[in-house]
């Protein structure tokens, strides 16, 4: 995959997106949206050139793009909320539309016209975008939200009142994973790779392990929905790699305390030179999922729900 969660760039209100994704700090006197489209364009061109180079070196190499993905459902069945959801999803899919189809979508060209966005885009760039389309779509899935029509903005993003929340306030929507797999597959007919999905929690180490049934419940419900997408809907999914394989420091705060892994890491012990790693309950759970290739969940998959 070329650029991780490339579509985080679209949100110019959070300065970390442009910094971590592109090494860019927006200046006070510039239009961040214009800059965002320019740096995205350079990354699209770089990605397309990298794909072409990869195929020259080894035609078997499979290069993907990578998105942060989750549905923004319509807030209601009002027609204008359908449009709001559509526009919200276009913003999310804009990046893969370019990297998979090799051309700028018409909704983007119209937006640039309307907002007078002027970019450095050459004919050679456009030819390269066409020649270097990616082979698959990798994406992270954590949660869903809703899009509500708004006269000023295209839409307002809000929490989904119909899904449950974790003790830490996270929306939990496993069905949203099946939904987005279907939406993305219908949009592109390309293989999909779920390269992040997970549950952050303050784990408690007791007797050399962690009883993280909350993580097992979260992951299992998502795996079941993924298997439904494969088995019942015929979506082509290459793989599933939960975030994270092991506890690591968080991207948003740099702390280790909000933990995601199957393996508990005691950072103090690591710093003192001992191993400091412990298998959580979810370690054994996942081992069984892999060993049975998901067969152990088949009773839950076959039920239409």
């Amino acid at each position: 995959m070329t650029f991780n969660e490339i579509n985080n760039l679209i949100d110019t209100d959070n300065p970390f997106n442009a910094w971590t994704g592109a090494g860019v700090l927006y200046k006070e006197d510039e239009n961040p949206e214009q800059t965002m489209y320019q740096i995205s364009h350079y990354q699209f061109v770089a990605s397309s050139l990298a794909v072409q180079e990869a195929k020259k070196i080894d035609s078997k190499l499979q290069i993907g793009c990578m998105l942060h993905l989750g549905p923004l459902y319509p807030a209601s069945c009002k027609p204008l909320d359908q449009i709001a959801s559509l526009k919200a999803m276009d913003r999310r899919f804009f990046f893969s539309d370019v990297q998979i189809r090799g051309t700028y979508p018409s909704y983007t060209k119209k937006l640039w016209e309307r907002k007078n966005v002027k970019l450095d885009i050459t004919q050679e760039d456009l030819a390269n975008l066409k020649k270097g389309t990616v082979d698959f779509l990798g994406f992270s899935y954590y949660k869903s939200t809703i899009a509500e029509y708004n006269a000023q903005a295209d839409f307002l993003e809000k929490p989904n009142p119909y899904v449950s929340k974790s003790d830490w306030g996270w929306a939990i929507d496993p069905v949203g994973l099946r939904y987005i797999l279907n939406v993305a597959y219908e949009r592109y007919q390309k293989p999909l790779f779920i390269v992040e999905n997970g549950f952050g929690a303050y784990d408690k180490l007791e007797n050399g392990s962690v009883n993280d049934d909350y993580r097992i419940n979260y992951l299992q419900s998502h795996v079941v929905q993924m298997l439904k997408a494969i088995e019942l809907d015929g979506v082509d999914v290459i793989g599933y790699t939960p975030w994270a394989a092991i506890d690591i420091i968080s991207a948003s705060t740099g702390e280790i305390e909000k933990r995601y892994g199957f393996i508990y890491v005691n950072l103090d012990e690591v710093k003192q030179g001992t191993a400091g790693v412990y298998r959580k309950q979810s370690f054994e759970w996942y081992k069984n999922i892999i060993k049975t290739n998901g067969e152990c969940l088949k009773d839950q998959v076959r039920v239409e729900k």
Partner: protein, 168 residues
């Protein structure tokens, strides 16, 4: 039921777990200048690495020195693949060099070989929040068209070096 080749595994990003931020010829990356935050305090982006700040990405979980033990645990879980990124600044410490840093390339050879020993396919992200800080500082990051060529050079080095070990 599902395909026998289905890639069950787990994911991480180099900058959040490797540590060894200045070891093996690695350059400073954009996340190496982000301070520690918490729920109430956002992280800060500093102008270079400053002496009195705490930078959690510098140590990560020190996978750089523990990769064998950790990959062994992934193998015990039965991983078919391990998704991770290559730290761009380990291969091109500043980003605009002509030649890559051999020590960085050798490190990923070791990691991939260790995975393959257990039948674990490495799955690689080329750019996961860790572009060289030098490119951000001297070129304004991806504002500058020349960064396309620097990225391409880096990507090409990775494809040539690892194409027999990495498919995705």
């Amino acid at each position: 039921m599902i395909n026998k080749d289905f890639l069950w595994g787990g994911a991480v990003a180099a900058n959040q777990y490797e540590g060894a931020w200045d070891t093996g010829g690695k350059g400073i990356s954009v996340t190496d200048v982000m301070t520690k935050g918490d729920v109430n305090t956002p992280r800060k982006i500093t102008a270079g690495v400053l002496p009195n700040e705490e930078y959690p990405n510098h140590f990560g979980i020190d996978f750089y020195h523990h990769y064998k033990e950790e990959i062994e645990l992934f193998a015990e879980m039965g991983f078919k693949c391990f998704r991770r990124s290559i730290a761009w600044s380990r291969i091109f410490p500043h980003g605009d060099e002509e030649k890559p840093n051999e020590e960085g390339l050798a490190f990923y050879d070791n990691v991939f070989d260790e995975c393959l020993k257990y039948g674990i396919q490495p799955v690689v992200t080329l750019s996961h929040f860790e572009m060289p800080y030098y490119l951000a500082d001297h070129y304004g990051g991806w504002r500058d068209r020349r960064v396309i060529d620097f990225f391409l050079r880096y990507a090409k080095v990775c494809f040539e070096r690892y194409h027999e070990k990495v498919k995705y």
